[in-house]
Amino acid sequence: MFCFKNVFKMTLLIVLGTLCFPQYAYSYIDPGTGSYVFQIIIAAFVAVSFMIKIYWHKIKKFVGRIFSQKNK
């Protein structure tokens, strides 16, 4: 069920997760240091809205199902 506490916990985990584990990137195109770092930071923010979006779709589906059952 949709719960803001859970969303907050997940977001916190995501932000920490993104900042903690080191890895190296090799590619034939230059990802650009600024772009590389920036996407990690911005991804932490957009992850919150992404999660809300996913939950929102689930709520809509859930509510839609209840109403369709009532109509039957």
Partner: protein, 462 residues
């Protein structure tokens, strides 16, 4: 363009393989170092999925003995793209569709444990009316924790030009002609209106992104110490998709977009003109037509109705946009609308001036249609008939061309604000100069009009 050694002039960046020509056929060599990734693309089912949905170019594996360089793993023969076009020749919706295709492929790839390793707009081509990824080597295994390598490229190749076109001026897409690796984000940030700071997608992916690039200019070591988990990765892709989707542009107010409404053809004259063009097309039966000065593609549709592929060129981005939108609506597979100024056609650019082909290098074509165009070139651009005829003789085998005399109201309007220095602008001068390069096969006077329509055949065989 192909170099003298047979290698494709634009295929040199990726060490995993390259495109080449052998005996007139196009192949792609896949090097041993890409073995694992290529096998994953095929065995994961991603190649077949993208192919089935017409998102990725199809290919056939051929004899590896056809290799052009050492260390080949596979040689593939991709389906041929009939006409190569470039992002700086696309209108807003074409670039937007190409951007959304890239995102769609990335999302599908992630379901197969694969990610795009580049997001170049040059990897997208329009084939049968739809965008298609043409680089089979753009895929790599998704590694958990690794950020999207192509993020910078996507923002520079797609998001920045789209934002500039939508929020500043449609003509700013021409910046892509100068900046081949996409529009630098600091420049995009400076050119975008201040109001775009209030939109999260543009604030983040362009303005703050540009600041970050500047801040981290000389700090390469620190960049590789951070990771991005899968959920955040998907959130980033979703955010880019929303950013692109939310950008819109309404074509209006340009010089040519309502040209047909203002043109002085009566319905009878228009019907006669269409019938003549149709007859001429039937006579020459071309494999491809370039409609130069096509506007919104009224006459391109005539050729397309005969299943003739048409490259529908016009200088006006709004007219090209309307043409593209109509073609998409109709699911027209035969029309490729492109922004092209015939008085300044796309030059050869990039490395060695051959990486991206000039318009002329992509010809000659079977037939050119130049309808209601010559007076703009001759009077609007001070070009003599000799020069116009010479250019067209390099472009095509057959030419359907309309001559509009000085008495015509359109020409009168053009001359109303300037001195008439065009003493050779008459039908005899037109026929004399064009006859040096072409044979006049047909000539019709358009009913209830002073205009004439010609079918010319090139005296030189290509």
């Amino acid at each position: 363009m192909t170099t003298t050694s047979g290698l494709d002039a634009s295929s040199f960046r990726d060490p995993n393989g390259f495109v080449f020509r052998r005996q007139g056929r196009l192949y792609r060599q896949i090097n041993q170092q890409y073995r694992e990734e290529y096998d994953l693309l095929i065995n994961s089912g991603l190649y077949h999925k993208l192919n089935a949905e017409n998102l990725l170019i199809s290919h056939e594996e051929v004899d590896v003995k056809l290799a052009m360089a050492p260390d080949p793993y596979k040689i593939i023969q991709p389906r041929l793209v009939p006409f190569i076009s470039y992002p700086y020749e696309w209108t807003f919706s074409q670039l937007k569709d190409a951007a959304l295709l890239t995102i769609q492929i990335q999302k599908i790839a992630m379901q197969h444990g694969i990610s795009l390793k580049d997001a170049s707009a040059y990897n997208i081509q329009f084939v049968q009316g739809s965008p298609l990824l043409i680089d089979t080597l753009s895929f790599e295994k998704y590694k958990e924790g690794r950020p999207w390598i192509a993020y910078r490229q996507f923002c520079q190749h797609f998001l920045a030009p789209l934002a500039l076109m939508a929020r500043n001026d449609i003509r700013l897409n021409q910046l892509s002609r100068i900046f081949l690796d996409g529009i630098p984000l600091d420049l995009a940030s400076r050119l975008l209106p201040v109001a775009t700071y209030s939109r999260f997608s543009l604030l983040s992916h362009i303005h703050l992104h540009a600041r970050s690039q500047k801040h981290f200019q000389n700090k390469a070591q620190r960049a590789s110490e951070r990771t991005l988990n899968r959920f955040s990765f998907m959130a980033l892709i979703d955010s880019l998709e929303s950013a692109v989707t939310s950008l819109n542009w309404r074509p209006r107010g340009t010089e040519w977009v309502d040209y047909y409404d203002h043109s002085n053809y009566s319905p009878e004259a228009m019907e006669f003109k269409c019938k003549c063009i149709d007859d001429y097309l039937l006579e020459i039966d071309p494999c491809q037509v370039w409609d130069i000065g096509a506007n919104t593609g009224l006459y391109s549709r005539l050729a397309a109705s005969r299943h003739i592929p048409v490259i529908s060129l016009d200088v006006d981005a709004a007219a090209v946009e309307l043409n593209y939108r109509q073609s998409r609506r109709e699911a027209n597979q035969f029309i490729l609308p492109l922004v092209q100024d015939i008085t300044n056609p796309s030059p050869g650019i990039g490395w060695d001036n051959i990486e991206r082909m000039s318009l002329l290098e992509r010809g000659p074509t079977d037939a050119v249609m130049a309808l209601a165009l010559v007076h703009h070139l001759a009077i609007g651009n001070n070009l003599s008939f000799a020069r116009i005829a010479q250019l067209f003789s390099r472009l095509c085998r057959a030419l359907i061309i309309e001559f509009i005399p000085k008495e015509d109201s359109q020409v009168q309007r053009m001359l109303s604000t300037r001195e008439d220095i065009f003493h050779d602008y008459h039908v005899r001068g037109f026929e004399e100069e064009f006859s040096r390069f072409f044979s006049i096969t047909r000539c019709e006077k358009i009913t209830r009009s002073t205009r004439r329509l010609y079918l010319l055949k090139n005296k030189t065989t290509f």
